[in-house]
């Protein structure tokens, strides 16, 4: 039984209310402006020497804007670096994905949070934020925000350069292993986040997967990073 049921009800009611007008609308207007400017540049000057920043390419804006978290500004959080695509890939089940990085400051005054999200075409997102890369909180199992149900995702950052990442997991007691998609984030993209180059892995696991452990190895087969997922 709740000690303060009125508070619980008030929180649930607050969670149900629409979020205040967010950066989503502003981001969409900015993206259209960038795309229009890029198209005009191409039309006027041709492609030789033109720098085209577009959604869906590394260095460009994410195809799905990263919305402001409800109450983010009111809570003192500020975006310090705009969201940019740091890597792209195509997964067997989930299709095209964008690895999106951005930074924030303000929470707890402990410095700059680096956020890395895996964004999918259907609006699903997975990922996390932490102080520094590889993140101590790297790795995520099963949490997909929005979008349609699908495989569990094991995602995270490792030291660079990772040549391979294997995710071992169990399904109904049976041990299995799956090789993850490994994306090496370039120096330019990492610098844009205020950090050093890192590798990022994404693995699609069965929905029933549990007790997962990701192990990253370099070209010589030496283990350079490992993460045990909760759940």
């Amino acid at each position: 039984m709740s000690i303060l049921p009125d508070l619980r009800d008030e929180l649930v009611a607050a969670a149900a209310r629409p979020a205040p007008r967010s950066l989503v609308h502003r981001a969409r207007r900015q993206r259209r402006t960038v795309m229009l400017a890029a198209a005009m540049t191409l039309a006027l000057s041709g492609t030789a020497g033109a720098v085209l920043i577009a959604a869906g390419v590394v260095g460009g804006e994410p195809t799905t804007p990263v919305p402001e978290v409800r109450g983010e500004q009111a809570s003192g959080m500020t975006r310090t670096r705009a969201a940019r695509i740091v890597a792209t890939a195509t997964l067997p089940s989930s299709g095209p994905i964008e690895i999106v990085g951005y930074t924030m400051r303000g929470y707890g005054g402990r410095g700059e949070l680096i956020c890395v999200d895996v964004a999918m075409r259907d609006g699903t997102k997975a990922g996390g934020c932490d102080f520094g890369i590889p993140a101590r909180a790297a790795g995520l199992l099963g949490t997909r925000v929005g979008g349609s149900p699908g495989p569990k995702l094991a995602v995270g950052a490792t030291r660079a350069p990772a040549s391979s990442v294997d995710v071992r997991f169990s399904v109904a007691g049976e041990q299995r292993v799956r090789r993850a998609e490994v994306l090496n984030v370039t120096e330019d993209s990492a610098q844009a986040l205020g950090t050093s180059p890192f590798s990022y892995y994404v693995a699609e696991l069965p929905a029933e997967a549990e007790q997962a452990v990701a192990t990253a190895r370099d070209e010589q087969g030496n283990q350079i990073w490992a993460h045990q997922f909760d759940g």
Binding site: L4, L7, A15, V69, R70, G71, A74, S75, G127, G231
Partner: protein
């Protein structure tokens, strides 16, 4: 029936299922109130701070990801920061509650009594005694004495991750005992 979802799953589900945050709140309500009551000795102030703590947690629900710090540790961190800020300013912060459009909480005498009963030393000591020794020590060191994880790990000659797990399991055990009324 107890909700089987993890804290991370509840927070992630909140945007589409607001009731999920209600489950998350109920899961951690007593620990946060107890933490704040221990430091303020004032049930009304503890309730006011707890209200803002969970309001801030709601605004950041999307950002929480499972990792070394359990959700309750994350909440305690928010509560601790709010308490420090409130002491400096001489008033309880309300920004998150205002941003969410939350009504101000009115406390009945019964609610105040329920909060006060959390602080009964006999109750806490009895609940803590039910935990395995290593979990009890970790909870006392981290939650009551407010020591850092790395400091506790050094003293206990184990990794920080082990300390975090002991605190997480210890707090989960306290919660279960409170719910069972044992």
């Amino acid at each position: 029936m107890t909700d089987p979802r993890t804290d991370a799953e509840l927070l992630a589900a909140t945007s589409g299922d607001p009731a999920a945050f209600g489950v998350f709140y109920e899961r951690h309500e007593e620990v946060i109130l107890l933490f704040l009551l221990h430091r303020t000795r004032d049930p009304e102030l503890a309730a006011d701070l707890a209200s803002e703590t969970f309001a801030q947690a709601l605004t950041h629900a999307y950002r929480f990801r499972p990792g070394p710090t359990p959700a309750v540790g994350w909440l305690i961190g928010i509560a601790r920061n709010l308490l420090a800020m409130s002491r400096r300013r001489g008033r309880v912060e309300e920004r998150a509650r205002r941003a969410l459009g939350m009504q101000r909480l009115g406390l009945s005498d019964e609610a105040i009594e329920r909060i006060e009963s959390l602080g009964e030393e006999q109750n806490i000591a009895r609940l803590l005694a039910q935990l395995p020794a290593e979990q009890r020590d970790a909870v006392l060191a981290r939650v009551v004495a407010e020591r850092d994880y790395d400091e506790i790990a050094q003293e206990l000659a184990c990794s920080e991750q082990v300390v975090r797990k002991r605190v997480s399991r210890g707090l989960a055990g306290l919660r279960s005992a409170m719910e069972a009324g044992t």
